[in-house]
């Protein structure tokens, strides 16, 4: 039978490789210039899922919600060993906050069906909210363990996990299915496998197949899709309609989070004042610190 896992991944800007052209003069990010990568902790989450598969068999399915080019990270997941990948993409998903995103993802997971584990990275390096995983678990009404450091034991219908907490760790046991969010230290992700790179390099989403047919009257998308499915190179592509979603809960409409303002905050030292080690001077310092609400 094996143990089936679904891994939720996200394509994020590669903030570790920022070059001069990426920052615009107004301090905002020029996304087009920023290389996009698979979020590191999502990669670690995939590694944990693949280790379970290595040991117990089963299937690893990847889902991502994102723009058409997010297919790049899905191919990378296939290169590492994932069995199947879904791109959830629709213009109507644009502007989604964590609430709307977890709605779309949880509905996708319901459609995919049976699973024992859902894995996600703890958080994405662009938003840093760490909310999508937990919210997805809530919507699916399954238990969740966040900050997973190590999977200690996988039983028939339960799992024992060590999770990181401030200043230490705790060991939790949960019944399956469960959603785990994973921290980077949990595992070193395996490399892309040479044979899978060569086999899946041409895997394509529906959107990419549509692009191929543009300006070529001899190609029909449906036919192409059949061909890609037959060759095992089709990345399943789902839209809002495919998932029969409630439009008011998707994208900007379904997102109560509103960004008020983006500011570029520069932290720098200001003027300094010298305090001499005398009784009077020290009293003056304490009064000043109390006025600034640093003390008291």
């Amino acid at each position: 039978m094996g143990i089936n896992s679904i891994v939720m991944v996200k394509q994020v800007p590669d903030t570790a490789n920022i070059s001069g052209q990426v920052m615009k003069e107004d301090g905002t990010v020029n996304r087009a210039k920023l290389p996009a990568i698979l979020n590191h902790e999502d990669k670690t989450a995939l590694e944990l899922a693949l280790r379970i598969k290595d040991q117990y068999g089963g299937k690893v399915t990847i889902i991502t919600m994102g723009p058409p080019r997010a297919s790049d990270v899905l191919r990378e997941c296939l290169f590492m060993g994932a069995d199947e990948a879904y791109l959830i993409s629709d213009r109507k998903f644009a502007g989604a906050d964590t609430l709307a995103t977890s709605y779309v993802l949880s509905e996708t997971i319901k459609k995919i069906g049976s699973y024992d584990f859902i894995f996600a990275g703890r958080q994405a390096i662009d938003g840093d909210t760490a909310q999508v995983g937990p919210q997805t678990a809530e919507k699916l009404n399954i238990p969740q363990i966040t900050y997973t450091e190590e999977i200690l034991e996988v039983g028939k219908s339960s799992v024992k996990v060590r999770r990181k907490i401030d200043g230490g760790y705790e060991i939790l046991e949960s019944k399956l299915p469960v959603l785990l969010t994973v921290i980077k230290d949990a595992a070193f992700p395996r490399p892309f496998k040479a044979k899978r790179i060569m086999a899946y390099k041409n895997a394509k989403t529906l959107l990419e197949l549509e692009k191929l047919t543009e300006g070529n009257s001899l190609l029909y998308v449906d036919q192409l899709k059949e061909e890609y499915i037959a060759r095992g190179l089709y990345i399943k592509t789902l839209t809002m309609d495919d998932l029969k979603l409630d439009e008011t809960r998707c994208g900007i409409h379904g997102s109560p989070t509103k960004v008020y303002k983006v500011e570029s905050v520069v932290l720098a030292g200001g003027n300094h004042e010298k305090i001499n080690p005398t009784q009077e001077e020290l009293s003056r310092l304490i009064v000043k610190l109390m006025e600034d609400h640093i003390l008291g």
Binding site: A16, A194, I197, A199
Partner: protein, 573 residues
Amino acid sequence: MPNFFTENKDLLYHFERLGLEEVVNFIEDNFSQSKKFDYAPVNYEDAKENYRRVLEVIGDIAGNYIYPRAAQIDNEGATFKDGKVHYAKGTKEALDMLSKAELMGMILPREYGGLNFPTTIYMIAVEMISRAEASLMNIFGLQDIGRTIAQFGDADQKEAFLPGFCTGKYTGAMALTEPDAGSDLQAVKLHAYQDEKGNWFLRGVKRFITNGNGEVLLVLARTEPGSKDARGLSMFVCYGDETVVVRRIEHKLGIHGSPTCELQFNDTPAQLIGERRFGLLKYVLYLMNRARVGIGAQSLGITQEAYEQALQYAKAREQFGKPIYNLPVVSNILINMRVTLEANRSLFYAASVWLDKKEMLESHIDKLKAEKKPYSEFNEKFKEANKVVTLLTPLTKYLLSESVNRICYDSLQIHGGTGYMHEFGIERLSRDARITNIYEGTSQMQIVAAAGSVINNVLAEYFDEWEKRSYKGSLNKLLEKIIEIRALFNDALKYVKDKKDTYFQDVAAKDLVDLYGFIYISFLLLNESNEDQRKVFIARRYIVDSLAKAREKYESIKNELYADILHADTILI
């Protein structure tokens, strides 16, 4: 986060212009393999795309995973405890990563789990791995052991050994050297005998065996009692089981991650590879020639890294109020290093592609023979390729391994006192480089191997053709200089031949081989310059420098510099 493939412009340059179409067509059976394997290419472009993508992954693993472990591997080294060899922690991790990425069977057939890549693509990988950690190459680069079994083993042997190589479960070793048989392998004594059922066993000692602790060993042994030369030697494959005792490992100057073992075979069960009595003459020759190209790649990888470290240090180190990079004497050394690096790479990939062509033609002919089809057309091509490979393999091994020592010397010099300290990478590179012109045949042996071809001027037709080509503007001035080097070579060669003095000829062979190398590499760079503007700088310095050196060598020969060899006993008190 350096990627040793995508961030190495010169390597990418060579990758883009490798002329491997014919080779790839053949090894892919005109791309019919794609019907059986989902990862086999459907055409040449697809194959190239496969190579590029896989090399990108190797470049990433080499630069970001292995390279940061190099100092640790050097410090810990391979160790020997309780009769067992242990790799350094970093070596183990690196091998594990490369195995997981399915890169341990790059040149093995797909039916056994390999990637079926041309040798040249594998060599690009070897170059990058060597740059990251030179001694890891001595394990990663032993894929040629599997390749030799794939080439000459029978079906059962392939089935038994090759899948393990591909997954990384097996590493190999070639057990050739013995205490009294180093450069002179004809003197091998290790005894192979048969029991009454015809099973073979090995008994004896091998020394200086790289990765002798490997799971699968290719062993050169004497099968014909009483014989004294190469015709009594045969090739065997065996497992490194409990009958193979590692007696010790060597404490070496460099390549600490690679265990160098003394092995004792105590009636080790073994299987004969191919035919009896062809051990040295056919199979070791095949394996050694490939291994020599591999050492060329190792030298090239270390050269690249020694250059990078010198460049980086020169830019960062300030003296007299500015980076030493801006001092002309320093930038001049750096330019020399860079020119040598690129010249060497041109030679290396030309040699490697010729090796691929030669092996492809050889296999093609074997196939046609088996199918009882005419093959004379390919026979001519094969002879030609074989002729070129016979020269280029030892020439490349000799020039690149000598040169990496010089490059490390210069790089350390640019580092000044800092470079002499253990904490800096160049100290390790200098030690690692030192073995390259010793093992797999010393430079002196490579010169002997190349000298015959040089004396017969086997590339003359190529040189003639390149002389007749039309070159852009200023390149014609460079062409004139190459023609001058050729004239010096021809004159020196005639002088040596006419002298009919074998002592003199043996010593002068080095100069003649050097001169021949100048001509060949000069032409390669000239042709590159014709297509690529930047390469003009590389070609100019290389050719002008070569002409100066050529004159020196010419003078040495014509002035009878070596006439005193006969008086060695008087001089050497």
